[in-house]
Amino acid sequence: MSKVDRLGWTDGLAFKCQGVTVGVRTNNPKVLKRVKKVLPLESTLIDSPVVDHLFSLFIGVDAPPPNFRRHHLLYNGSVRLIRTMKDDELFDTLESMLRLRVAEFTKRRVFIHAGVVAWKGKAIVIPGSSHSGKTTLVTELIKAGATYYSDEYAVLDKNGLTYPYPKTLSIRENGNSRQTEYAVEKFGAKAGKKPLPIALVVVTDYKRNGLWRPRVLTEGRGALEMLVHVVSARRQPKFALSTLNQVASRATVLKSKRGEAKQTAQAILQMLS
Protein backbone atom coordinates (compact mmCIF):
# COMPACT_ATOMS: atom_id res chain seq x y z
CA MET A 1 0.00 0.00 0.00
CA SER A 2 1.54 3.33 -0.99
CA LYS A 3 1.62 6.37 1.29
CA VAL A 4 -1.19 8.08 -0.58
CA ASP A 5 -3.49 5.13 0.17
CA ARG A 6 -3.09 5.78 3.90
CA LEU A 7 -4.35 9.35 3.88
CA GLY A 8 -7.86 8.55 4.99
CA TRP A 9 -10.25 8.55 2.02
CA THR A 10 -13.90 8.64 2.86
CA ASP A 11 -15.77 9.04 -0.41
CA GLY A 12 -15.37 9.27 -4.15
CA LEU A 13 -16.91 9.03 -7.55
CA ALA A 14 -16.14 7.35 -10.84
CA PHE A 15 -16.94 8.46 -14.36
CA LYS A 16 -16.46 7.32 -17.90
CA CYS A 17 -15.52 9.63 -20.73
CA GLN A 18 -14.56 8.64 -24.28
CA GLY A 19 -14.12 5.07 -23.10
CA VAL A 20 -11.74 6.00 -20.26
CA THR A 21 -12.78 5.32 -16.67
CA VAL A 22 -11.52 7.65 -13.98
CA GLY A 23 -12.04 7.73 -10.24
CA VAL A 24 -11.70 10.65 -7.84
CA ARG A 25 -11.54 9.91 -4.12
CA THR A 26 -11.43 12.41 -1.33
CA ASN A 27 -11.25 12.80 2.44
CA ASN A 28 -14.08 15.34 2.34
CA PRO A 29 -17.35 14.20 0.70
CA LYS A 30 -18.63 17.79 0.52
CA VAL A 31 -16.23 18.59 -2.33
CA LEU A 32 -17.66 15.96 -4.63
CA LYS A 33 -20.30 18.43 -5.75
CA ARG A 34 -17.55 20.71 -7.02
CA VAL A 35 -15.67 17.76 -8.53
CA LYS A 36 -18.73 16.92 -10.63
CA LYS A 37 -18.64 20.45 -12.07
CA VAL A 38 -15.10 19.97 -13.39
CA LEU A 39 -15.58 16.61 -15.06
CA PRO A 40 -14.65 16.54 -18.75
CA LEU A 41 -17.30 17.06 -21.41
CA GLU A 42 -19.54 14.04 -22.12
CA SER A 43 -18.64 12.31 -18.86
CA THR A 44 -21.15 9.91 -17.33
CA LEU A 45 -21.02 8.83 -13.73
CA ILE A 46 -20.56 5.10 -13.28
CA ASP A 47 -20.75 2.74 -10.36
CA SER A 48 -17.43 0.93 -10.54
CA PRO A 49 -14.83 0.14 -7.91
CA VAL A 50 -12.20 -0.38 -10.60
CA VAL A 51 -11.06 2.42 -12.86
CA ASP A 52 -8.28 3.06 -15.35
CA HIS A 53 -7.00 6.15 -13.53
CA LEU A 54 -7.36 7.28 -9.96
CA PHE A 55 -7.07 10.80 -8.58
CA SER A 56 -6.90 11.46 -4.87
CA LEU A 57 -8.06 14.82 -3.58
CA PHE A 58 -6.99 15.59 -0.03
CA ILE A 59 -8.67 18.69 1.39
CA GLY A 60 -6.57 20.42 3.99
CA VAL A 61 -8.22 21.06 7.32
CA ASP A 62 -7.62 23.57 10.04
CA ALA A 63 -5.85 21.97 12.97
CA PRO A 64 -4.08 22.89 16.22
CA PRO A 65 -1.85 24.70 16.99
CA PRO A 66 -3.83 27.89 16.17
CA ASN A 67 -3.54 29.20 12.61
CA PHE A 68 -2.09 25.97 11.38
CA ARG A 69 -3.65 24.71 8.17
CA ARG A 70 -2.80 21.70 6.16
CA HIS A 71 -2.34 22.09 2.43
CA HIS A 72 -4.72 20.66 -0.11
CA LEU A 73 -3.10 17.82 -2.05
CA LEU A 74 -3.89 16.24 -5.39
CA TYR A 75 -2.44 12.95 -6.54
CA ASN A 76 -2.69 10.99 -9.77
CA GLY A 77 -1.91 7.46 -8.70
CA SER A 78 0.93 7.93 -6.27
CA VAL A 79 2.34 11.02 -7.98
CA ARG A 80 1.61 14.30 -6.29
CA LEU A 81 0.44 16.91 -8.76
CA ILE A 82 -0.09 19.92 -6.55
CA ARG A 83 0.18 21.09 -2.96
CA THR A 84 -1.63 24.34 -2.35
CA MET A 85 -3.70 26.35 0.10
CA LYS A 86 -5.91 27.76 -2.68
CA ASP A 87 -9.15 26.00 -3.59
CA ASP A 88 -9.23 27.47 -7.12
CA GLU A 89 -5.74 26.25 -7.97
CA LEU A 90 -6.58 22.80 -6.67
CA PHE A 91 -9.72 22.45 -8.75
CA ASP A 92 -8.17 24.10 -11.82
CA THR A 93 -5.41 21.50 -11.70
CA LEU A 94 -7.86 18.67 -11.18
CA GLU A 95 -9.98 19.85 -14.10
CA SER A 96 -7.01 20.10 -16.46
CA MET A 97 -5.55 16.77 -15.42
CA LEU A 98 -8.87 14.96 -15.80
CA ARG A 99 -9.17 16.34 -19.34
CA LEU A 100 -5.56 15.44 -20.08
CA ARG A 101 -5.92 11.85 -18.91
CA VAL A 102 -9.01 11.32 -21.03
CA ALA A 103 -7.28 12.93 -24.02
CA GLU A 104 -4.20 10.78 -23.57
CA PHE A 105 -5.86 7.41 -23.07
CA THR A 106 -9.00 7.44 -25.19
CA LYS A 107 -8.98 5.11 -28.17
CA ARG A 108 -12.01 6.72 -29.78
CA ARG A 109 -10.70 10.17 -30.58
CA VAL A 110 -7.46 11.97 -31.26
CA PHE A 111 -7.04 15.07 -29.11
CA ILE A 112 -4.78 17.78 -30.48
CA HIS A 113 -3.75 20.65 -28.25
CA ALA A 114 -5.34 23.32 -30.44
CA GLY A 115 -7.89 26.07 -30.79
CA VAL A 116 -10.79 25.40 -33.15
CA VAL A 117 -13.37 27.64 -34.76
CA ALA A 118 -15.85 27.12 -37.57
CA TRP A 119 -16.33 29.33 -40.59
CA LYS A 120 -18.84 28.71 -43.38
CA GLY A 121 -19.43 25.13 -42.35
CA LYS A 122 -15.76 24.13 -42.11
CA ALA A 123 -13.35 24.02 -39.21
CA ILE A 124 -10.14 25.97 -38.73
CA VAL A 125 -7.68 24.28 -36.39
CA ILE A 126 -4.85 26.19 -34.70
CA PRO A 127 -2.46 23.70 -33.08
CA GLY A 128 -0.20 25.11 -30.43
CA SER A 129 1.34 24.56 -27.05
CA SER A 130 0.69 26.71 -24.03
CA HIS A 131 1.68 30.37 -24.48
CA SER A 132 1.73 30.17 -28.28
CA GLY A 133 -1.18 32.62 -28.48
CA LYS A 134 -3.84 30.29 -29.83
CA THR A 135 -6.55 31.45 -27.41
CA THR A 136 -5.88 35.06 -28.38
CA LEU A 137 -6.24 34.12 -32.04
CA VAL A 138 -9.40 32.09 -31.33
CA THR A 139 -10.85 35.07 -29.48
CA GLU A 140 -10.22 37.38 -32.43
CA LEU A 141 -11.68 34.85 -34.84
CA ILE A 142 -14.91 34.57 -32.88
CA LYS A 143 -15.11 38.35 -32.53
CA ALA A 144 -14.92 38.43 -36.33
CA GLY A 145 -17.89 36.08 -36.56
CA ALA A 146 -16.46 32.56 -36.44
CA THR A 147 -18.22 29.93 -34.34
CA TYR A 148 -16.38 28.76 -31.26
CA TYR A 149 -15.45 25.10 -30.98
CA SER A 150 -12.59 25.01 -28.49
CA ASP A 151 -9.55 26.84 -27.23
CA GLU A 152 -7.95 23.75 -25.74
CA TYR A 153 -8.40 20.65 -27.85
CA ALA A 154 -9.30 19.74 -31.40
CA VAL A 155 -11.13 16.43 -30.93
CA LEU A 156 -10.91 14.31 -34.08
CA ASP A 157 -12.56 11.06 -35.04
CA LYS A 158 -10.94 8.47 -37.31
CA ASN A 159 -12.42 10.17 -40.38
CA GLY A 160 -10.79 13.48 -39.53
CA LEU A 161 -13.96 15.27 -38.42
CA THR A 162 -13.57 17.64 -35.49
CA TYR A 163 -16.02 17.79 -32.61
CA PRO A 164 -16.89 20.69 -30.33
CA TYR A 165 -15.03 20.81 -27.04
CA PRO A 166 -16.31 24.05 -25.60
CA LYS A 167 -15.27 25.48 -22.29
CA THR A 168 -14.83 29.01 -21.09
CA LEU A 169 -12.04 30.85 -22.88
CA SER A 170 -8.92 30.92 -20.73
CA ILE A 171 -7.32 34.26 -21.54
CA ARG A 172 -4.07 35.60 -20.18
CA GLU A 173 -4.22 39.33 -19.82
CA ASN A 174 -1.55 41.99 -19.55
CA GLY A 175 1.29 39.51 -19.68
CA ASN A 176 0.04 37.54 -16.67
CA SER A 177 0.70 33.85 -16.61
CA ARG A 178 -2.57 33.14 -14.77
CA GLN A 179 -5.66 32.95 -16.90
CA THR A 180 -9.10 34.53 -16.59
CA GLU A 181 -12.13 32.56 -17.73
CA TYR A 182 -14.64 34.15 -20.11
CA ALA A 183 -17.82 32.73 -21.55
CA VAL A 184 -17.87 32.94 -25.36
CA GLU A 185 -21.18 34.81 -25.21
CA LYS A 186 -19.27 37.73 -23.78
CA PHE A 187 -17.81 38.19 -27.27
CA GLY A 188 -21.16 37.82 -28.97
CA ALA A 189 -20.19 34.39 -30.22
CA LYS A 190 -21.96 31.04 -30.39
CA ALA A 191 -20.56 27.64 -29.60
CA GLY A 192 -20.66 24.99 -32.30
CA LYS A 193 -22.62 21.79 -31.83
CA LYS A 194 -21.93 19.39 -34.70
CA PRO A 195 -18.81 17.69 -36.06
CA LEU A 196 -17.20 19.38 -39.03
CA PRO A 197 -14.56 18.61 -41.64
CA ILE A 198 -11.36 20.63 -41.32
CA ALA A 199 -10.61 23.03 -44.14
CA LEU A 200 -7.63 24.85 -42.71
CA VAL A 201 -4.88 24.11 -40.20
CA VAL A 202 -2.88 27.16 -39.11
CA VAL A 203 0.48 26.46 -37.50
CA THR A 204 1.50 29.75 -36.00
CA ASP A 205 2.77 31.48 -32.93
CA TYR A 206 3.03 35.03 -31.86
CA LYS A 207 6.17 37.03 -32.46
CA ARG A 208 6.39 40.71 -31.71
CA ASN A 209 6.27 42.56 -35.05
CA GLY A 210 5.88 39.18 -36.71
CA LEU A 211 4.72 39.16 -40.32
CA TRP A 212 1.94 36.93 -41.49
CA ARG A 213 3.43 35.23 -44.56
CA PRO A 214 1.91 31.78 -44.64
CA ARG A 215 3.40 29.03 -46.71
CA VAL A 216 1.48 25.93 -47.61
CA LEU A 217 2.97 22.75 -46.19
CA THR A 218 2.92 19.40 -47.94
CA GLU A 219 0.51 16.84 -46.53
CA GLY A 220 3.29 14.96 -44.78
CA ARG A 221 4.90 18.04 -43.27
CA GLY A 222 1.47 19.28 -42.22
CA ALA A 223 0.74 16.00 -40.47
CA LEU A 224 4.12 16.18 -38.72
CA GLU A 225 3.37 19.71 -37.43
CA MET A 226 0.07 18.49 -36.01
CA LEU A 227 1.59 15.33 -34.52
CA VAL A 228 3.74 17.41 -32.18
CA HIS A 229 0.54 18.55 -30.48
CA VAL A 230 -1.33 15.25 -30.38
CA VAL A 231 -1.80 14.34 -26.72
CA SER A 232 -1.87 10.57 -27.28
CA ALA A 233 0.87 10.49 -29.93
CA ARG A 234 3.15 8.28 -27.87
CA ARG A 235 0.36 6.04 -26.56
CA GLN A 236 -1.41 5.47 -29.86
CA PRO A 237 0.86 6.55 -32.70
CA LYS A 238 -0.86 4.40 -35.34
CA PHE A 239 -4.28 5.89 -34.66
CA ALA A 240 -2.76 9.37 -34.50
CA LEU A 241 -0.97 9.02 -37.84
CA SER A 242 -3.93 7.56 -39.69
CA THR A 243 -6.25 10.28 -38.37
CA LEU A 244 -3.79 13.04 -39.27
CA ASN A 245 -3.48 11.51 -42.73
CA GLN A 246 -7.23 11.99 -43.14
CA VAL A 247 -6.97 15.61 -42.04
CA ALA A 248 -3.86 16.53 -44.03
CA SER A 249 -5.18 15.00 -47.24
CA ARG A 250 -8.24 17.26 -47.20
CA ALA A 251 -7.20 20.42 -45.39
CA THR A 252 -4.74 23.13 -46.31
CA VAL A 253 -1.98 23.40 -43.72
CA LEU A 254 -0.34 26.80 -43.38
CA LYS A 255 2.67 27.81 -41.35
CA SER A 256 3.80 31.30 -40.42
CA LYS A 257 4.75 33.54 -37.54
CA ARG A 258 2.13 36.15 -36.80
CA GLY A 259 1.92 39.59 -35.32
CA GLU A 260 -1.26 40.98 -33.78
CA ALA A 261 -4.07 38.48 -33.65
CA LYS A 262 -6.77 40.76 -35.05
CA GLN A 263 -5.09 41.22 -38.42
CA THR A 264 -4.15 37.56 -38.61
CA ALA A 265 -7.72 36.49 -37.85
CA GLN A 266 -9.04 38.68 -40.67
CA ALA A 267 -6.47 37.28 -43.08
CA ILE A 268 -7.38 33.71 -42.15
CA LEU A 269 -11.11 34.24 -42.59
CA GLN A 270 -10.53 35.98 -45.92
CA MET A 271 -8.61 32.95 -47.16
CA LEU A 272 -11.55 30.70 -46.42
CA SER A 273 -14.06 33.16 -47.84
Binding site: H71, L81, I82, R83, T84, K86, E89, D92, T93, S96, M97, L100, A103, E104, H113, S129, S130, H131, S170, R172, S177, R178, Q179, T218, E219, G220, R221, A223, L224, L227, V228, H229, V231, S232, A233, R234, R235, P237, K238, L241, S242, L244, N245, A248, S249
Partner: protein
Protein backbone atom coordinates in the same frame (compact mmCIF):
# COMPACT_ATOMS: atom_id res chain seq x y z
CA UNK B 1 32.88 11.19 -57.85
CA UNK B 2 35.03 8.12 -57.33
CA UNK B 3 33.26 4.87 -57.77
CA UNK B 4 31.56 3.81 -54.56
CA UNK B 5 31.96 0.29 -53.31
CA UNK B 6 29.19 -1.68 -55.01
CA UNK B 7 28.95 -4.14 -52.15
CA UNK B 8 27.02 -1.77 -49.91
CA UNK B 9 23.49 -3.25 -49.82
CA UNK B 10 21.31 -1.25 -47.46
CA UNK B 11 18.26 -2.76 -45.81
CA UNK B 12 15.30 -0.62 -44.79
CA UNK B 13 14.48 -0.99 -41.14
CA UNK B 14 10.96 -2.27 -40.46
CA UNK B 15 11.01 -3.33 -36.82
CA UNK B 16 9.44 -1.03 -34.23
CA UNK B 17 8.28 1.36 -36.94
CA UNK B 18 4.78 2.46 -37.84
CA UNK B 19 4.50 3.47 -41.46
CA UNK B 20 1.72 5.64 -42.85
CA UNK B 21 1.58 6.09 -46.59
CA UNK B 22 0.39 9.46 -47.80
CA UNK B 23 -0.18 10.68 -51.35
CA UNK B 24 3.44 11.50 -52.19
CA UNK B 25 5.14 11.10 -48.86
CA UNK B 26 5.65 8.53 -46.15
CA UNK B 27 5.27 9.15 -42.43
CA UNK B 28 7.32 6.91 -40.18
CA UNK B 29 6.96 6.71 -36.40
CA UNK B 30 9.93 5.20 -34.59
CA UNK B 31 8.61 3.45 -31.49
CA UNK B 32 12.06 3.07 -29.94
CA UNK B 33 13.03 6.73 -30.09
CA UNK B 34 9.56 8.33 -30.17
CA UNK B 35 10.51 10.28 -33.23
CA UNK B 36 8.44 10.81 -36.35
CA UNK B 37 9.83 11.34 -39.82
CA UNK B 38 8.36 12.54 -43.07
CA UNK B 39 10.06 11.18 -46.19
CA UNK B 40 9.39 13.04 -49.41
CA UNK B 41 8.76 11.03 -52.55
CA UNK B 42 12.40 10.68 -53.54
CA UNK B 43 13.52 9.59 -50.08
CA UNK B 44 10.57 7.23 -49.79
CA UNK B 45 11.30 5.54 -53.14
CA UNK B 46 14.96 5.04 -52.22
CA UNK B 47 13.98 3.61 -48.83
CA UNK B 48 11.48 1.23 -50.37
CA UNK B 49 14.17 -0.14 -52.69
CA UNK B 50 16.55 -0.89 -49.83
CA UNK B 51 15.82 -4.60 -49.58
CA UNK B 52 19.21 -5.84 -48.44
CA UNK B 53 19.96 -7.16 -51.93
CA UNK B 54 20.10 -4.04 -54.10
CA UNK B 55 23.40 -2.20 -54.20
CA UNK B 56 23.75 1.49 -54.95
CA UNK B 57 23.58 1.18 -58.74
CA UNK B 58 20.52 -1.09 -58.56
CA UNK B 59 18.73 1.21 -56.15
CA UNK B 60 19.50 4.07 -58.52
CA UNK B 61 18.08 2.12 -61.46
CA UNK B 62 14.90 1.15 -59.58
CA UNK B 63 14.44 4.65 -58.21
CA UNK B 64 14.65 6.04 -61.75
CA UNK B 65 12.01 3.54 -62.82
CA UNK B 66 9.70 4.31 -59.89
CA UNK B 67 10.07 8.08 -60.19
CA UNK B 68 9.92 7.97 -64.01
CA UNK B 69 12.90 10.27 -64.20
CA UNK B 70 16.67 9.94 -64.34
CA UNK B 71 18.09 9.70 -60.84
CA UNK B 72 21.81 9.92 -60.20
CA UNK B 73 23.76 7.85 -57.71
CA UNK B 74 24.62 11.04 -55.86
CA UNK B 75 20.93 11.69 -55.16
CA UNK B 76 20.47 8.12 -53.93
CA UNK B 77 23.55 8.44 -51.76
CA UNK B 78 22.19 11.64 -50.23
CA UNK B 79 18.95 9.83 -49.46
CA UNK B 80 20.80 6.93 -47.89
CA UNK B 81 22.85 9.31 -45.73
CA UNK B 82 19.66 10.83 -44.38
CA UNK B 83 17.96 7.48 -43.87
CA UNK B 84 20.98 6.23 -41.96
CA UNK B 85 21.13 9.43 -39.88
CA UNK B 86 17.53 8.94 -38.77
CA UNK B 87 18.03 5.26 -38.03
CA UNK B 88 15.80 4.05 -40.84
CA UNK B 89 18.35 1.57 -42.20
CA UNK B 90 19.30 -1.65 -40.48
CA UNK B 91 22.69 -1.48 -38.88
CA UNK B 92 24.81 -4.41 -40.06
CA UNK B 93 27.65 -5.19 -37.71
CA UNK B 94 29.21 -7.57 -40.18
CA UNK B 95 29.17 -5.10 -43.09
CA UNK B 96 32.71 -4.28 -44.25
CA UNK B 97 31.54 -1.17 -46.04
CA UNK B 98 30.42 2.07 -44.48
CA UNK B 99 28.22 4.48 -46.35
CA UNK B 100 30.16 7.28 -48.03
CA UNK B 101 28.99 10.72 -47.05
CA UNK B 102 27.81 13.35 -49.52
CA UNK B 103 26.39 16.74 -48.72
CA UNK B 104 23.30 18.35 -50.16
CA UNK B 105 25.46 21.16 -51.55
CA UNK B 106 27.68 18.74 -53.44
CA UNK B 107 24.67 16.99 -54.92
CA UNK B 108 23.14 20.27 -56.02
CA UNK B 109 26.42 21.24 -57.69
CA UNK B 110 26.54 17.97 -59.56
CA UNK B 111 22.92 17.54 -60.61
CA UNK B 112 22.10 21.23 -60.89
CA UNK B 113 19.39 23.19 -59.15
CA UNK B 114 16.80 22.58 -61.84
CA UNK B 115 16.60 18.85 -61.37
CA UNK B 116 13.68 16.83 -62.69
CA UNK B 117 13.10 15.33 -59.26
CA UNK B 118 13.13 16.80 -55.79
CA UNK B 119 16.20 16.11 -53.71
CA UNK B 120 15.48 13.61 -50.96
CA UNK B 121 14.28 15.15 -47.72
CA UNK B 122 13.64 13.49 -44.39
CA UNK B 123 11.99 15.88 -41.91
CA UNK B 124 12.02 14.73 -38.32
CA UNK B 125 10.45 15.64 -34.99
CA UNK B 126 10.66 14.35 -31.45
CA UNK B 127 7.20 13.39 -30.28
CA UNK B 128 6.54 14.94 -26.86
CA UNK B 129 4.84 13.23 -23.95
CA UNK B 130 1.26 14.03 -23.04
CA UNK B 131 2.34 16.14 -20.07
CA UNK B 132 4.41 18.32 -22.35
CA UNK B 133 1.14 19.28 -24.02
CA UNK B 134 -0.45 20.36 -20.78
CA UNK B 135 -0.86 23.99 -19.85
CA UNK B 136 1.94 25.16 -17.65
CA UNK B 137 -0.10 27.50 -15.50
CA UNK B 138 -1.70 24.72 -13.47
CA UNK B 139 0.77 24.33 -10.72
CA UNK B 140 2.06 26.78 -8.18
CA UNK B 141 5.75 26.49 -7.59
CA UNK B 142 8.65 27.66 -5.51
CA UNK B 143 7.52 26.62 -2.09
CA UNK B 144 6.32 23.04 -1.88
CA UNK B 145 5.66 22.72 -5.59
CA UNK B 146 7.58 22.03 -8.78
CA UNK B 147 6.89 22.51 -12.46
CA UNK B 148 6.72 19.73 -14.99
CA UNK B 149 9.09 20.22 -17.93
CA UNK B 150 9.04 22.18 -20.18
CA UNK B 151 7.50 24.58 -17.65
CA UNK B 152 9.64 26.60 -15.29
CA UNK B 153 8.81 28.49 -12.13
CA UNK B 154 8.44 32.21 -12.72
CA UNK B 155 9.88 32.98 -9.25
CA UNK B 156 12.51 30.39 -8.44
CA UNK B 157 12.82 29.81 -4.72
CA UNK B 158 9.70 31.77 -3.87
CA UNK B 159 5.99 31.22 -4.36
CA UNK B 160 5.10 31.60 -8.01
CA UNK B 161 3.40 29.98 -11.00
CA UNK B 162 4.67 27.57 -13.60
CA UNK B 163 5.13 29.23 -16.98
Amino acid sequence: MEKTNQKFVPLARKEKLIIEQMADEVLVYDLTAHKAHCLNLTAAVVWQNCNGKNDLSQITRFASRDLQATVSEDVVLLALNQLEKFNLLEKKKESPVSLPHISRREVMKRVGIASAIALPVVASIIVPTAMANASCALVPCGVGGTCNPPCNCDTPGGPGTCI
